[in-house]
Subunit: 456 residues, 2 copies
């Protein structure tokens, strides 16, 4: 394909993309097929000769689209949002064309430099303490990771390295492997599975801290474990706090946990993968209070800040702690272009409006649930996630979810909260409006009605 054909096909693709997103509501949000469906629809080997673009695009509709869970449908309420906006897509086109691999400054200076400045821009939007801003003379700063999993792993590795050095500075005869075998990390029992996985990769122990009735870690719980472990000869070195847990969007008490970590020489990493985007709104910024005690902080603009996946932003207080650990992959795309495009074409106000609208939609859904006494709300609704269930057994709620999934009009996923099977309703698509919330609720209550009827 030469440039002339790309001009033609590229413009067709722009229209295909716009059509897809404009008419996405017409497609069932969740696919209706069995695992392994795709293999039979395409050849077993690549073609020897080139095929036509028309044939390929026909196959996109025939083979791919039936197997898509449409994350950007306004009827998609599963998981957490995956950000998507037209400015980010335009930036990605430019990023693909430049196609530099930014593994060093010389490999494309603009790629490294725009990233540093965009992380400063975003850090300022979040009112991060000055120590996290690179500026021209700062010791801190930010970097784009692919995912929060990577950011967590990087912070744990940096903390591990620092802890080994600290212990060996005092007890120079201790071997590294002896120190490693005594290190212990902590995180909430509500934390994402990737946190535990980081400890497995880093070959250190990790203990789960129990949470309170709001699914949050409190100072006294962590303190108790740390003291037990120290008494047993272990070396507490790392705590991963969560702001906005995956199951219920709960917030650990970092204003108290932070001083504890600082006192105990434990690295505090904050994972705010979903919730972090909301901190650009002054009314939600208090949720980040305590950030001043953290060594590193991460959230995913690719979840809720209109910047297409992948863009997980991570800040550290001391860049020297993490040099050599900035990231797993050496190569990197020019991802800060997406940030620049989105920030400039939406403006801070546009981004705040997006967050506020989605929180309001969650509140609207919460009110609908509260007004129906067959249902209950299962966790405080702070941002865009509503955890709810039918009053009754787990089985009842499992059956309700089965009917919802089978109907394919909306898409939800469940969670477990204190042993209870709970439905998660997350405001996801940029184009979700009040009418979608109202319709989703009518649909859920209709299915609940039928379910309860069938049981009687």
């Amino acid at each position: 394909m030469d440039a002339a054909e790309f001009r033609r096909r590229g413009k067709e693709m722009v229209d295909y993309v716009a059509d897809y997103l404009e008419k996405i509501e017409e497609r069932p949000v969740y696919p209706d097929l069995e695992p392994g469906y795709l293999r039979d629809l395409i050849p077993t080997e690549a073609p020897c000769e080139p095929e036509s673009f028309e044939d390929l695009m026909q196959d996109v509709e025939r083979v791919i689209m039936p197997g898509i869970t449409h994350w950007h449908s306004p009827n998609f309420f599963a998981y957490f949002p995956a950000a998507s906006s037209y400015p980010a897509m335009l930036a990605d086109m430019l990023c693909g064309a430049i196609g530099c691999i930014g593994f060093s400054w010389a490999a494309s200076p603009a790629c490294t430099e725009l990233e540093t400045v965009m992380l400063d821009w975003l850090g300022k939007m979040l009112q991060l303490p000055e120590c996290f801003i690179a500026g021209t003379h700062g010791h801190g700063g930010g970097v784009i990771q692919s995912t929060a999993s990577e950011a967590t792993l990087m912070s744990l590795l940096a903390a591990r390295c620092k802890a080994v050095r600290r212990v060996q500075a005092v007890e120079s005869e201790r071997s590294e492997s002896d120190v490693l075998s005594k290190l212990v990390a902590y995180t909430s029992d509500q934390a994402h599975s990737s946190v535990e996985r980081a400890a497995l990769i880093g070959a250190v122990m990790m203990r789960k801290v129990p949470t309170d009735e709001h699914f949050a870690v409190r100072e006294e719980m962590l303190k108790k474990m740390v003291e037990e472990d120290k008494a047993a000869g272990l070396i507490p070195f790392y705590f991963c706090a969560t702001l906005g847990t995956t199951p219920s969007c709960a917030f650990d008490h970092i204003t108290k946990l932070g001083p504890l970590c600082n006192k105990e020489n434990m690295w505090m990493h904050i994972d705010a993968a979903y919730a972090g985007s909301a901190f650009i709104c002054p009314e939600f910024r208090p949720l980040l209070n305590g950030i001043e005690y953290a060594d590193s902080f991460n959230f995913n603009p690719h979840k809720w800040l209109l910047i297409n996946f992948d863009c997980s932003t991570m800040w550290v207080k001391k860049r020297t702690d993490i040099i050599g650990h900035w990231q797993i992959p050496l190569g990197r795309r020019f991802r800060s272009l997406k940030m620049w495009f989105v920030f400039r074409l939406y403006g801070l106000k546009g981004l705040q409006a997006h967050i506020r609208k989605q929180v309001a939609l969650a509140k609207e859904f919460e009110s609908l649930v509260q007004a129906d006494n067959r249902f209950e709300i299962c966790a405080e609704v702070i941002l865009g996630l509503v955890c709810f269930r039918l009053k009754g057994s787990n089985e009842l709620n499992q059956n309700l979810l089965k009917r919802i999934t089978k109907s394919r009009e909306i898409h939800l996923v469940p969670c477990q909260l204190s042993g209870r099977f709970v439905l998660r309703f997350a405001i996801c698509a940029r184009t979700t409006e009040s009418r979608h919330i109202q319709r989703a609720w009518r649909h859920i209550t209709q299915l609940a009605f039928e379910l309860l009827q069938d049981l009687h």
Copy 2:
């Protein structure tokens, strides 16, 4: 920005991209600016109100383009190629629009399934042994990683886990941390820095195996180290072989190393990041002989197979070895679309033609160097990389490279081979033709002439 404006701006962006790539030769391949240049060119904070697309695109030319190292310029001969093609860019547009996060089958079945089938297609193009193909009943199969660094880390973690289990199965009283402290991994002294880094992350020892006069690891060298280490009570568990090293594109002798690893119960991972793409040509496939002994194999289609970054493909013989270790990030883009578009729109023949053309260009450059007795070739030219230098001191060659870099007409990077400072000339851009090779050589010899003149 709504869909209507995206249709307009998207088409403008398609033209911008096509213009950029068609006229890329007019831009200096390497930027002429000082670190920190960008910060002064843009505001210190994000705008509050939205800005116009026109202003943004003007700033792309004013702020970004002067800071780009143009990897797709036909005058770019640095590092290794970063793949780029129009079909891959079209697929990326579609990928951005679908915007699913494929962390499970249900999260978008097509995303998981197309990936498995595309890895089979590519595996067959490479004539991988049947045991690496998933098919409908296979025990092996492939997965897309972001980079070779990630693939190496994943293989090392899988090997570590397997080794600990194996030792503990026999000596159940040994603690995991004791076993970990005895594990030892091996790789070539020519291997990429990410291999050593994987061992650091995984908290295991890694030893560098010395290489022969062709910069390749031979069986006897690894065997000697393994025996020494076993005698010292260590547990050899992993060898990362390189096919096509970064400095000189050397090939470890895997037909002999493989049986040794199998016999010693060591996981053999093969890193063919750059060279792997060439194995789709029957004449280069013998370089992969010995793959049948490997536990895992990885290469980067995003280097040399016309699939834009990121797309690093990894195969394992036993999927059960690596489940839970498939990847660091949980979320993933729909990257197999790029493979599907490129394979179908180029066809196997088109891809082979691309490899063959670039190897021929490297041979052409090699001939030019050989015909000039002031210069010498420093490593056998097997694929698209030529390592050469002026006969004489390292300083002389450092000065030659400084002049090349300063001229900004072509871009090269150096390497060290047996203590010698060597210039690496890699055929990179898809659009590099014989005339660019000829001009590059005229340019190099002119600068060499001036340098030698200045010294007399």
